[in-house]
Symmetry: C2
Subunit: 83 residues, 2 copies
């Protein structure tokens, strides 16, 4: 059993209107030294695989096919063995 | 200037219907060895602060007041100096 965490971010060249909106909120609250806010997704799950390599292969496929939008997002993941 | 990343997750006791929905999708795609999918937010931004301590204090306040819902979410953050 492995525990996987995947972070999905928009590519730097793609605008992030949600991040902009949050940053506007920050300015209204007085946080005027914050910029470049970008919002992505954080996904964690357990994966029941034989070994690290097959878990890694499956996480990549899961992230590419379902979790991320390959046109505008990149993902990175971390995998660790769970007891 | 510091670069902050904040991860916001629902508390473990709070149901995550979005995670459940994604997991149903995974099953339809044939990933039937995945469970416990939970979806959170990943936020990154730059913060222009004098030193680490004041940046940390501000990131905490920003996350508590604006980025997370303190009733049902927890957050963790990482801060590093940017050149």
């Amino acid at each position: 059993m492995f525990k996987a965490t995947v972070i999905i971010k928009r590519r730097p060249s793609i605008l992030d209107p949600q991040g902009k909106a949050v940053e506007e909120g920050a300015k209204l609250l007085g946080f005027d030294n914050i910029d470049g806010t970008r919002i992505g997704k954080y996904v964690e799950f357990n994966i029941d695989a034989e070994d690290y390599d097959s878990a890694e292969k499956e996480v990549k496929e899961y992230a590419e096919k379902l979790l991320s939008n390959p046109i505008m997002e990149d993902f990175e993941f971390h995998l660790e063995e769970a007891k």
